[in-house]
Symmetry: C2
Subunit: 324 residues, 2 copies
């Protein structure tokens, strides 16, 4: 089943089901007004939403053309957005380039930061940024959305709380990062509003591409219409269950918690990167200094996860950076 959120003037938007091929959609706001509400009463809502989805697939319910530019983020705001850094290749490159000592527990304790979740951007929304000098960068990621998770949940059980899967662009302001990391208080100004692909799907929609708590999909990233990378989600060191268990160690998680993988990163040759920062550290390592600049106002980015068969289950993020 595939779900999205139509812009309707309300901060939480209107819930719709979307056809498997992302061409048609049907209203679902009679089942749950919005996605957050559906997630809170998932046992009931899921059954009714699946029925609507099957009717849509069969052409047996009134439907309309699915238009991503009319969508908000699937959860336009959330009560919890915790974003990991689970692709260790990315962290290792940063360490190497900046000559940081290896992080203790790097391979055993996930890195997770608390992200701002009150104002997400839709897949086609313009991205307002105050200043090019902040080092504007994209970060292609996979995300899982959970139901309620009890405190102390283990990694295996945590996977059972994953209700939906999706894709995000974790916008980052790189020149603001070092000061904030040095305080120990984590990212704040350096992580403006995150963007999401238009569609979220139940795990069964991915078939074998959802395996071991990881999305085995290539994340194709184009910057200004040119190929930038297509790393695969299979290289995630900590799977989503491990990230959720880490987040729930000392507290419960509410329904609608979004957990992010961190920027997708592979050590396979020729697959590129899912963020500019990573390309720059590779340049530092290989050429002594970074050659690629960060984004300018007017720049675009496109991100689309694709299966081996070429399907794009979540639709594409296609955004332009503009001056705030």
């Amino acid at each position: 089943m595939k779900l999205a959120t139509l812009r309707n003037g309300h901060p939480d938007g209107q819930l719709i089901v979307v056809s498997r091929n992302l061409t048609r959609a049907a209203d679902a706001s009679d089942i749950a007004l919005n996605l957050q509400q559906a997630l809170e009463q998932w046992a009931d809502a899921e059954r009714a939403l699946r029925q609507r989805f099957e009717q849509l697939e069969a052409g047996a319910t009134s439907s309309f053309e699915f238009e991503p530019s009319c969508c908000m983020a699937p959860l336009p705001r959330a009560y919890q957005w915790c974003d990991g850094s689970a692709f260790l290749h990315h962290g290792r490159l940063l360490e190497k380039a900046f000559k940081h000592p290896p992080r203790e527990n790097f391979e055993t304790i996930p890195l997770l930061y608390q992200g701002g979740s009150d104002d997400f951007l839709g897949a086609r929304d313009e991205v307002p940024m105050p200043d090019e000098a902040h080092g504007i960068d994209f970060e292609g990621e996979f995300v899982a959305i959970t139901g309620r998770v009890p405190m102390g949940c283990d990694a295996k059980s945590a996977l059972k709380h994953v209700l939906l899967l999706g894709q995000a662009n974790d916008w980052s302001l790189r020149t603001l990062v070092p000061r904030e990391m040095n305080t120990g208080f984590g990212f704040f100004q350096s992580k403006p509003s995150t963007s999401f692909a238009p569609v979220v799907v139940t795990p069964d929609e991915l078939g074998p591409a959802w395996q071991d708590g990881r999305m085995h999909l290539d994340l194709h990233v184009d910057w200004n219409r040119e190929w930038f990378g297509h790393p695969n989600g299979d290289a995630m060191h900590f799977h989503f269950g491990e990230l959720i268990a880490h987040a729930a160690r000392t507290r419960r998680l509410g329904a609608g918690t979004i957990v992010g993988s961190g920027t997708v990163s592979n050590d396979r040759p020729g697959v590129g990167s899912a963020c500019i920062a990573e390309k720059r550290v590779i340049e530092i390592i290989e050429q002594g200094k970074p050659r690629t600049s960060f984004m300018k106002f007017g720049d675009t980015v496109r991100m689309e996860a694709r299966s081996k068969e070429g399907h794009a289950p979540f639709g594409a993020i296609e955004q332009r950076v503009v001056q705030a």
Copy 2:
């Protein structure tokens, strides 16, 4: 005007108005179902809520006894909880005890971390913690709740977006803090669910105690029924407008954003502290090592902000720590 949230089985609870002396309450869910909804349509909701409050004060509306144990946090969950560390005396003590070099921009750039906001605790809720070895500690704070704040808002304008004021206990797990701060990713497991005093008030309710964006109130803290401290909110170095402006530098803030002062801390002799960590660093400085242990299961904490006249505008936080 004073507001609170009654437990009614829904995650957002039921909005009520509370009498000035915190003895009576009246339903307000016909005006807005819950506080989040009221904050989203504040211009309309405020007028109707103030009218209900005046009727309650005049005994001219049906009312019931106000019982804090029936209350959830005023916002039982929020889309944004950003917590500062605006009392610099606290930071200076930590630096001195742990021989950290002085922080750059300590007096000019506020420290703010992104807090988890999906599962707050009410003022009388038990506080489930997984392990005493985590160094269970309270942190008495003041909070401001805002309406929508535009990106790039300056500190003075930011104060105009403060709609409500309140009081929080920012529970902390001290032995988990150093590892998380060292990663640069900020607090996560070390900051479990935050608790809030039962009542929030519009700024006018504080009279001269709301001044220069600071709450000039003593925050009385008792640990296991014994006095622990009563530092005053007037010593806040960065006022709430400055914290909000910092938070809104690279993004908009949604209605219902909660901004925290950080643990209240004074350099006045004899006023004690609002968290155990601060008492311990004073012991390290004065006696070479900490003498006070962190909390045990079964321990209680009481926090109540009081005006010069002895009024407690927000009611008291009275909680017991239990094993999760």
